[in-house]
Amino acid sequence: MTVSTASRGFRPSRRQMLAGSAAAAGAFTFGFTIPAGAQQAGVPEINAWVVVHPDDKVVIRIARSEMGQGTLTGLAQLVAEELNCDWAKVTTEYPTPGQNVARNRVWGNFSTGGSRGIRESHDYVRKGGAAARMMLIQAAANEWKVPPAECVAEKSVITHKASGRSIRYGQVAAAAAKLEAPKDVPLKDPKDWIIAGKPLPRLDTVDKTNGRKIYGMDFKLPGMLNAAIKDCPVFGGKVKSFDAAKIKDMPGVKHVLPVGESAVTVVAETWWQAKTALDALPIEWDEGPNAQVTSESIAAWLKEGLDSPQAVVGNQVGDAKAAIAGAARVVEAVYSYPFQNHACMEVMNATALYTSEKCEVWTPTQNGEAALAACAEASGLPLAKNEAYKIDLGGGFGRRGAVHDWVRQVVLIAKQIPGTPVKLIWSREEDMLHGRYHPITQCKLTGAFDKDNNLTGLHMRISGQSIVAGIFPQNIQNGRDPAVFQGLNPPGPEASIGYGIPNLLIDHAMRNPHVPPGFWRGVNLNQNTIYLESFIDELAHSAGKDPLEFRRGLMKNHPKHLAVLNAVAERAGWGKPLPDGVFRGICQTMGFGSYVAAVAEVSVAPDGKLTIHRIVAATDPGHAVNPAQIERQVEGSFVYGLSAALYGEITIKDGRVEQENFDTYEVMRLEAMPKVETVIVPSGGFWGGVGEPTIAVAAPAVLNAIFAATGKRVRSLPLKNADLRKA
């Protein structure tokens, strides 16, 4: 159903917005039908996960957010696999966060971060598909008055083998929807998969090639106004005053409003008018207590933490300090990692409509429920009088997950103009200045060798920022942020260190600057892997051993880590001759439930120019739900990881971020992109993540290759600040 409407009170679902986006030039036509969810007119759901239309169209509900990582396709594959439906007839939709709350969280967790879309929900989404299949079969069996065990379902058709009768899913869906859900729902053995595990194309590609896909920035409501915003550029500062009279007569300007204590918005007919007027608005800031902070002052504070007697232990084996004190030889190095901005291609944005009865928000979010909570908190209305509608993201990378500062802002604006929909879009500059940055840390590593050149001890002291302290301070217990030790944990299923070192101490001296930290794709695995894997390389060279052989010697009791390292070494041809001037580096780590490793091949010209020729990356995610999309995630993770390694740096001066756009915050472009070969070695028995783990092996593989090429050990990121010229 597509209707033109000028009224409010509708709730366009994502798909209906897509229908509306093909509007002719100048027109504001929308396609609206009833919202996704339980009100599918005449089409009852089989269960929360599956709706089957009379024409056999299958709608699979997806709770996690699609932001490019392919979770929508992968989760649909898992449901469809158990449903035994015709993949060609599968579409997807998002239930809303409000529906999830109202239905006792039947769709589970909406949070889409930590590479957990599939690894945390595979069990219940598959059961959703399997239960729906059982109910459809039961409905057919009831009609035929035969035992369901005599019926099979394949490609959306149920067949009673003995009689040869068959019926389509669409013909029994209504009857199936009335049946009780089965209690015992067995799942297939992954070796029998025919939809899951296959390298299928994404479900959502076509509209991304013709301009039809609607992102949050593109969303429109009738009568909507547009808002631009400036928050105090010094974190923790406030608005002292602003002179609205100076801009109130500028074209299109409707409102000039405070947003909380720290921000000002201009609301205008178009966003460009709003931004233009905001740029002309005189604003005086009270910059607060952080106005003197610089990158240098932060670095000095973190450096002090490297030797502080106060630290929280994350992993301890034996007595590392004694091993170091009694060592025949000690190797020591200090590394550092900067703040970085997520720099999603789509800047933060949301649309809100507030009335005294209801507050609604449409936004790209990695966690619809968190967006709903932010909406409710800002609106002041009871939770049930709020709703959030998810829109696919133009990049998330962790920025749009835990903190919904832009949702709070848009609701605070909408509250001041009740009844008028308003879309808030941040400028790129606002996005750069008000990120939730990759945490800043330094790390001092000390390795101890005995007289026989055996590694006897390692002390790894991390000093710096805690994301958890910045975002979920209630989760800090006894001063400990467990996430800080990602990739360095004791043996176990998550983020465990891959080396057996007889005396090991990994501890953290927390130092939280005023710059707000966030979960940044790869999180703490990124810098921890750089620190450990670069230093392991240093230790190998110090011991006169091949970096691969040295690692293998420490990994005897870590077979999964070792298997992936061996897989990457074999594919890369470790030890085999390379063209003149090309050198290799290797590394491995484990995080987000997966084991990963990489080899980089680089050359460094006499003038210091670095060329990355080839990356070979291996991953063991346990089960590979879509190998084609895993390859794309691995390739993309290297772009993200190498962007960070080569260029990524947010610096602080006068308490504020110095970089404002891509001209000063560089990211990788196609020109610098190496060839990437992905080796997928799923060993089964566990479910690991895909979107993030391989980011962590991008930088250290390259850094170790640079050392092989130049003899220079880069210990401070990003690489753009390093001089790689021959000494």
Partner: protein, 155 residues
Amino acid sequence: MTKLNVNGQALDVTVDGDTPLLWVIREQIGLTGTKYGCGVAQCGACTVHIDGVATRSCALPVSAVTEDQKIVTIEGLSPDGSHPVQQAWIKHDVPQCGFCQSGMIMAAAALLQSNPKPTEADIASEMTNICRCGTYVRVKAAILDVASGGQLGRG
């Protein structure tokens, strides 16, 4: 009143002449396939064709465009998504989040139109759009695929 030719249609828009073409396309004309990414012609998400030349519309005042110049946006690249670059993008499953891909496709289409057989070095120097998901490997593969098919070119 500013006169523009967009996707083959002659349009009159009422807008301040300093407004970047991008925002005229998005807000006055209502075509949102062309994206805002940076506003300073760095990222290429706003790429459109002006008389066949890939142009970053975010930093181009609408007053600099004449009514004779033919502006083509992603919506007008082909009526039905059948442009060889669009088809190659689908075949290679290029997009991830997809936000930068309108600009990528427009840049690739212009590149192939002017240089139907680009080398990898040509692609590297011409395709300067930013993609944060990291689709560059597939972007390159799709462009090379179109080039090998020889479906595009002057004349």
